[in-house]
Assembly symmetry: C2
Homo-oligomer: 312 residues x 2
Amino acid sequence: MRIVSLAGGIGGARFLRGLRAAAPSAEITVIGNTGDDITLFGLRVCPDLDTVMYTLGGGINEEQGWGREKETHVVKEELAAYGVEPQWFGLGDRDFATHIVRSQMLEAGFPLSQITEALCARWQPGVRLLPMSDDRCETHVVITDDRGRRAVHFQEWWVRLRASIPAESIALIGAETAKPAPGVLEAIEEADVVILPPSNPVVSIGTILQIPGIRDALLPKTVVGVSPIIGGAPVRGMADACLTAIGVETSAQAVLDLYGADLINGWLVAEEDAEVSLDGVVVQARPLLMHDPDSTRAIAEATLTLANSLNP
Amino acid sequence: MRIVSLAGGIGGARFLRGLRAAAPSAEITVIGNTGDDITLFGLRVCPDLDTVMYTLGGGINEEQGWGREKETHVVKEELAAYGVEPQWFGLGDRDFATHIVRSQMLEAGFPLSQITEALCARWQPGVRLLPMSDDRCETHVVITDDRGRRAVHFQEWWVRLRASIPAESIALIGAETAKPAPGVLEAIEEADVVILPPSNPVVSIGTILQIPGIRDALLPKTVVGVSPIIGGAPVRGMADACLTAIGVETSAQAVLDLYGADLINGWLVAEEDAEVSLDGVVVQARPLLMHDPDSTRAIAEATLTLANSLNP
């Protein structure tokens, strides 16, 4: 069985761990969001790719959901001692090594997809991890603060401001000319089923869908999504702030409407959202809280069961 | 009083601490060797400049003489876990931050001299630290090993091979077209005295003297040197391996001859080398072992006393 899953960061990575457990013999290709990538201190940081890689590779800080376990922060403290900005992004020492390797390979001319493969040679995530694109695309957010109306990098809004200032708009800079990374369209073409984990529908899944060619490639496939909204609130993170920015209600129904019946064939919602419906989409209600590996695996199994039932 | 001192790494840095103590009201400009600079993991490392900066700024690992105190090595271990080479160069986490800041500024287009000034804004070394040149010059060493006759970077010979394979020749790549960094020739011009610490006469002091214009600028000045050789052996390090490579005996006399009477006006040797002499050079014998801050200060005071006695 060949599975393609799109993925953002923490929620997506945890879901993927369940998916791998639910389908141990499947070939799983993960198309990772790179819209929240950022260059810090001259080093290229890919938070979502790394969260997937560390989570599936056994190196994640389980408690916070991102970054490395047993992490230290000497380099960050030293950079702060030099007065170097930004100081609001939490890079640990172990994590720095990943960014150093990646940046050195980028400098040497390797594309991000090959670099990700090289990094995964260490982590052995048990899935094939592809960036959505080798081209640099970064999500920016328009806000108005005491410095006026301006666009800031997604990470500044998300991490520094904790999304406390409303986003007036969200744009993926560079999307128009970006190409899917090598292997992305081929993996979709060959996939038996495509899964959308409960990642952020705007700045994770929505970002991947903006890369020209990816959404079109998904339309003929059997696509099953897991709602990232339960009873009107995000499962985790601040997806509501992103949905509000693009004029979409924070509900399992609204996210399904956003994705659209042309893309989605099956939609898993939580039991309190059982009334969600859309013509042409099979909606099923299931417990959707990823409490632990077992409950996460059960959700992943439900997506596969639904997908298989929809497959011709 | 205006003092210019050339400097290599550990020995030079310790001497400079003594010089600063011996002449607390002097304006001291240090011209630092950058011939052993190296790019590792995409980051620009300047071992000698950093050793001077950390030593005079109170951040040095006193025991080993280079690197930061209370150092950790998480980043290096992680890079090794990725299989990234080289693994023989000992970069600590605190030290990494310095190289990250430097590399980011280089990438932004700043010259090394301005970067060094920016780094010193934190460390406050109490001297003006200038790189010998903003142009990239790197010392390479020709060796013959099981891979044949080849040139390796100085650090590979010095750190990885511990100079265990004879150097057939030593060359400063890039020297012909390098220019002294801004301020170097002006500082020499304005100096009352110039001091050569007991740094390596080949790959530290000798390197600085190879930058076109520096040696010529020194010729009319009162220059006093401290022999790096005591009784036929280097005070520290492996200067003998470097001297042998250029066909010079490891002796206080031979190093003085190498520098030449056109450059040197005064030469401090250890008491067992009291017979050293060269026409036109005033040679004085003194205890030259830098046991501790007090003995180091006494050596520095002796250089200044000798220099002042030679000044018109």
